[in-house]
């Protein structure tokens, strides 16, 4: 196996030193074999490989928009070494068979560790629990369960799910959306929805479910993870739940850290997403929540859709946007360049904490000798204009097209093997 000597990297943005990746581990540079490949990492920040808790790989079922292979490649290009594949595939990942299939496809692809997320309820229908234990015991070793795309809105079912997964240290990742308050909803409910004449999606529909779930998690002593937090009120509720000592964690997407509902005035469905883009005040609260640790991590909610599902009128369009390949750039723009997070904290929010939430032993490590060699090199001085045609995803629905964003992933290593080198997929 090729050894890589990363010369002059800045681990976690700190003082520069050399890093040796050898036999799948980070090793002492003094022990570099003579045939080690040297990578000039001067000016580059080294981070532990990024971990995404929320990725839609679309396979099985919608291989026209993404496959496990292409999604894994997009993840590697974005600096990720592990992703959690959401369960809303067709068939739904609600049995050991489907999660093992996704897990195997990920292993064959080999670009990132693909950790399937299991559905909480059979067919995401919110009626009865899926066989959570069978998925946990399967070769895929599922630990994160979610009906993402729909909310486990039944309070009793949610309580039981939270309790049940304690047996194997699982976590329920809730898509918090009160269904009755959001019937036919198209965008954030506020001044913009009133002007644009679109059915509003009130913040309370998210916050009410989060409040209930936090209380449930506290009551039964279980782990709750809140998906894609999008409102200032949600941040406040999670902050409150954490002061109680409850095992509540939360994620925010890159797009909710940067984009606002003003973009809906274009009526371009590229900006249609669930949960919807909110207001500038919400963006500020989300950034502050991520900075102070109330929000544990950034998760992409990478949601590929074929062109025809976005090239239409708003109401007919699919919800979701790409995120894997632009995540680091958006986080640098929203959090690092604004002084809210340093690179060590970015490593914490994009690698260490999501790996802990997903119970991924091999990821989210340090960059010290002995750790698994999951490493990403980022060039923070680079500026690039986002061109959807350059994406390695099968889909093109990026909301950042044409924007100039900072930061570029130069190299990604999965257990010492380069998946991206010199900005190119290997």
């Amino acid at each position: 196996m090729t050894a890589y000597l990363l010369r002059g990297a800045a681990p976690l943005g700190g003082p520069t030193r050399d890093l040796l990746l050898h036999d799948g581990r980070i090793a002492d540079p003094a022990d570099a074999p003579t045939n080690a490949v040297t990578v000039d990492a001067a000016g580059l920040v080294a981070l532990p490989g990024l971990v995404d808790l929320h990725t839609h790989l679309r396979e099985p079922g919608r291989e026209d928009s993404e496959t496990v292979l292409t999604g894994s490649q997009a993840a590697a290009m974005g600096g990720f070494t592990a992703v959690h594949a959401m369960a809303n595939t067709d068939p739904v990942a609600d049995t050991a068979g489907v999660v093992e299939q996704v897990h195997n496809l990920g292993r064959v692809a080999g670009y990132v560790d693909v950790r399937p997320v299991g559905a909480v309820t059979v067919g995401l229908a919110g009626q009865r629990l899926a066989e959570l234990g069978a998925m946990a015991d399967s070769a895929a070793r599922v630990r994160v369960f979610s009906d993402d795309g729909t909310c486990v809105s039944d309070a009793v079912l949610m309580r039981r799910a939270l309790e049940y997964v304690k047996a194997f240290d699982g976590v329920i990742a809730q898509h918090a959306q009160e269904p009755r308050l959001t019937e036919g909803a198209q965008m954030n409910e506020g001044a913009m929805s009133g002007v644009l004449g679109m059915r509003g999606w009130p913040a309370v529909a998210e916050e009410a479910v989060i409040a209930r779930d936090c209380l449930l998690a506290g009551h039964v002593g279980s782990r709750l993870h809140v998906c894609h937090v999008s409102t200032a009120g949600s941040v406040e509720l999670i902050r409150w739940a954490k002061t109680k000592g409850w095992a509540v964690t939360a994620e925010v997407t890159p797009h909710h850290l940067m984009l606002t509902d003003e973009l809906a005035s274009t009526y371009d469905p590229l900006y249609k997403v669930n949960p919807p883009l909110r207001t500038a005040e919400d963006v500020d609260a989300l950034r502050a929540g991520l900075a102070d640790g109330t929000i544990d991590c950034v998760a992409t909610d990478h949601a590929p859709h074929p062109t025809e599902d976005k090239e239409c009128e708003w109401a007919a369009a699919a919800m979701g946007m790409l995120g894997l390949e632009t995540a680091v750039s958006v986080v640098q723009h929203a959090m690092v360049d604004t002084g809210l997070l340093d690179w060590a904290a970015v490593a914490d929010r994009m690698s260490v904490r999501p790996a802990a939430i997903g119970s991924l032993g091999d990821h989210g490590g340090t960059l010290e000798p002995g750790s698994a060699a999951n490493v990403v090199l980022v060039d923070p001085s680079s500026l690039r204009t986002i061109d959807p045609r350059e994406s390695v995803s099968l889909s093109r629905n990026t909301p950042y097209a044409g924007l100039e964003l900072p930061g570029r992933v130069v190299a990604t290593f999965l257990r010492g093997r380069a998946t991206v080198l010199d900005g190119k997929l290997q």
Binding site: A191, G194, G197, Y267, D268, E313
Partner: protein, 307 residues
């Protein structure tokens, strides 16, 4: 004038006045035995209607024909649209047929905006009502009607009553009448006012009776009784009692005040039959004025460039 008419928010005061003045000239045609002008001979206007609206379609059709344009009516029912053809493909088809203007009615807010900005068509796009967003030519014909009865609109008080939340007529009127200097008050039960209405250039009230004494015109919006199934109000009767323009309320209006309705009316729901048929009701005249205003819009949009 811009190339498209998508929202009354895009109209400056000068734009709006130009349309109304042009409509005034064209309005005189309606009283002549021969109502046709050769102005748009050789131009093609497509009426692209994804929602049924006979009233609006025939108004646009009459407007285009009186200007001698060729008119193609394209309705969703019985066409490729009902077989699942996308808005884009429909637009490309119309473009290939050489449409100079597309008049679009669509159930999805923003569909005309998509058509105009996506690069699918080169023609002018006229919004003939999109979802719960806007209906600019309705607002223009309302402003035209108001002006004929009240003179210039500066400082005039117009009260718009009903389902503002779902009304494209209310949105377009709130913006346009404010641009023209009128003071607009929206009256509705709190459930039927949109969140964020406080940022609109209007006053709002929940109390119709308190809004009647000083208004120069009252515009009643159509209220669908199905809204009570979504708990926007308890019953059609209760709505009618609190927000309907009945004979008692009509009697409290100033003597010069006029009554408007974009149609179709629910007689007995938002407006009583006697009020609808009263001499100070201008509801039928609105229809006549609609043709003149739509003629003005088509003329101004299509005469921007040489034929």
């Amino acid at each position: 004038m811009q190339r498209h008419l998508l929202s009354t928010a895009d109209l400056t005061r000068d734009d709006a006045v130009q349309i109304l003045d042009t409509a005034e000239e064209l309005r005189s045609l309606a009283d002549r035995p021969i109502k046709k002008l050769p102005t748009l001979r050789g131009r093609t206007v497509v009426n692209l209607f994804f929602e049924d609206s006979t009233r609006t379609r025939i108004s646009f059709e009459a407007a285009a024909k009186r200007l001698s344009a060729d008119v193609i009516n394209f309705s969703a029912k019985g066409s490729s649209v009902s077989k699942g053809e996308s808005l884009k493909d429909t637009a490309l088809t119309l473009e290939a047929m050489g449409a100079d203007a597309v008049v679009i009615r669509h159930g999805s807010s923003g569909a005309p905006h998509r058509l105009a900005t996506s690069g699918w068509v080169r023609s002018s796009v006229v919004n003939a009502g999109d979802g719960t967003h806007e209906h600019p030519t309705q607002a223009l014909l309302d402003a035209f009607t108001l002006r004929r009865h009240l003179g210039e609109l500066d400082g005039r008080r117009v009260t718009i009553v009903g389902d503002v939340l779902h009304s494209r007529v209310a949105r377009s009127n709130a913006l346009l009448l404010s641009t023209l200097g009128a003071e607009v008050t929206l009256v509705a039960p709190p459930t039927l006012l949109p969140v964020g209405v406080s940022s609109w250039p209007v006053q709002t009230s929940y109390d119709l009776d308190a809004s009647l004494d000083k208004c120069d015109a009252v515009m009643m919006l159509r209220v669908q009784s199905e809204r009570m199934n979504d708990a926007f109000f308890p019953s059609a009767r209760e709505y009618s009692r609190r927000y309907g323009l009945d004979d008692r309320r009509f009697a409290r209006l100033p003597e010069h005040a006029i009554v408007m309705h974009p149609g179709p009316m629910n007689r007995g729901m938002e407006i009583s039959a006697d009020v609808a048929d009263h001499a100070r009701s201008v509801i039928v005249e609105q229809v006549t004025n609609g043709v003149a205003v739509r003629m003005a819009v088509l003329y101004l949009l299509l005469s921007r460039e040489p034929a």
